[in-house]
Symmetry: C2
Subunit: 268 residues, 2 copies
DNA sequence: CGGATTATTGAGCCAATTCAACATCGGTGG
DNA sequence: CCACCGATGTTGAATTGGCTCAATAATCCG
């Protein structure tokens, strides 16, 4: 499904402006293979081939982390845009996980070569330590997002979930407007439904209701804009997520002089 | 709320048999303060005082990681028993997180002293590297559990959720019976509801239905037993979680000679 | 333009909730 | 020891939010 690779080994410099930057730097001297990939909408990269063996850094576009059940049901665990980092992992009970492109996506894949372990098992050095710290940050960040989404699915009703989704998208990929925000969302209603634990028709109905209440405009099938964000967030029983979460352990891990790259936000 | 501390500084040896063992060892030489705490049912330890500044290792009993919404709704993110490790963190949108004792609980709290950072920012050494690797493992493991639970809340119906809960409890704290498993569950119906995104009455009704279908027996209000586990899991569209998940990055992190302690399972 | 995909809308249904009454359990004090 | 009380659990009736099924509309793309 995935298209073509730009490079096969780690020698390609992917440039500080792309990739997770500090993560890329931390990867030097380790036995990771780095390759760029271009995905078209619908293309998948499976988690199956060894959980936690690959890391993907989204450079452009948007992907979804998906988990599938044996009976075909799908749950989307999260959407990632430029600058976000995903770690392949076991998705628990479900019968397999993958990432799936929501739009044309360019990403950087880092794969741990299992046949070349020497540089990894050696004595501690800054390179290795940086790498582990980066991995910690990636996973820690995702855990916080995942926990937040658990609350969403467990305790918010359908309207609250949809509003939260819109607000989240607006803050992540929205462009400022004369007043308010304009957002191009690459995913379908079905994707949104699979993310929010609802179904397609419900998403559609709630969009219609929001449109009628003038809280959100939907000028095209895959765009929306919000003029009064405060009015929208006012409908939520939660404070909206800020993309940077700085805990003290994360601070501590960053004290080697680096800072966390994960969500510096590479402009798409 | 929390009762009394056994010790206030890190000099107390808490014994290899308790705590997260390798985690405790990894903590040596770092500026973490270690203290034991005893909690009674309902006691809480807040996440507020600095996300990701504390780590709790459950020694005995059971706790729940909780997230609260501003309107009072509560979501339980997970239950932890002896051997499990929790890291204080931001729970995203929600208005605060905490861990809460489901039964009399003994745990070991590791707190990063922010005023004593020298040993942490120094050059890489094995102690520091081990510590980061342990923290990675803790967070990674929780991320996998969290992802799995996301699928549960997003795509399983109430009966499936309840069965999954029972099977999970059985595998974690069940005692083998002549045939089948016997489980003492310390939490109330409300706790279970808050974990599964349902309400108290629904839990009760499903328990009654399972009892009538002879799949599960409930000899007392807070115990149950399953004689035919296969019949029970057959109702699920998922394969049940195994407590150990071994990804290659985790393997790689463990190649210094340690193994992951997180879920070795200290007998309660 | 034509066909496939995606989105919207309506009607009816069902799962899970709400509200209310009652039962059971555990603990406390007389 | 028993009576009482609050907390927890169960059950029923009525309601409703979100789903299923189905028809239609809009959009995309060759």
């Amino acid at each position: 499904m995935a298209n073509y690779d730009f490079s096969i080994d780690g020698n390609l410099e992917c440039g500080e402006a792309m990739c997770g930057r500090r993560l890329c730097r931390a990867m030097r001297g380790t036995s990771f293979v780095r390759r760029h990939k271009v995905l078209r909408r619908g293309d998948r990269l499976d988690f199956t081939s060894g959980a936690c063996r690959k890391v993907w850094i989204i450079i452009r576009g948007m992907t979804a982390i998906c988990a599938g059940l044996s009976d075909g049901r799908r749950q989307i665990l999260g959407f990632e845009t430029a600058g976000d980092v995903v770690c392949a992992m076991s998705t628990g009970q479900s019968s397999g996980g993958w990432i799936e492109a929501m739009s044309e996506t360019v990403l950087c894949e880092l794969e741990l070569r299992s046949d070349q372990t020497a540089p990894l098992s050696g004595p501690a050095d800054h390179g290795r330590q940086n790498l582990i710290a980066e991995l910690f940050n990636i996973v820690h960040q995702r855990l916080e997002l995942c926990s937040a989404h658990l609350v969403t699915l467990g305790r918010l009703d359908s309207t609250e979930r949809v509003i939260l989704f819109l607000v989240d998208m607006a803050s992540r990929i929205g462009r400022p407007l004369a007043e308010g925000v304009f957002v191009e969302m690459p995913m379908t209603r079905e994707d949104i439904a699979d993310y929010l634990g609802l179904n397609t028709e419900t998403i559609s109905r709630i969009f219609t209701r929001l449109k009628k209440s003038k809280l959100v405009q939907f000028p095209a099938r895959n765009t929306f804009s919000v003029t009064n964000m405060t009015a929208l967030t006012g409908r939520l029983p939660v404070t909206v997520r800020q993309t940077s979460s700085s805990g003290q352990i994360r601070d501590f891990l960053n004290r080697t002089g680096r800072t966390v790259a994960v969500n510096d936000g590479v402009p798409a």
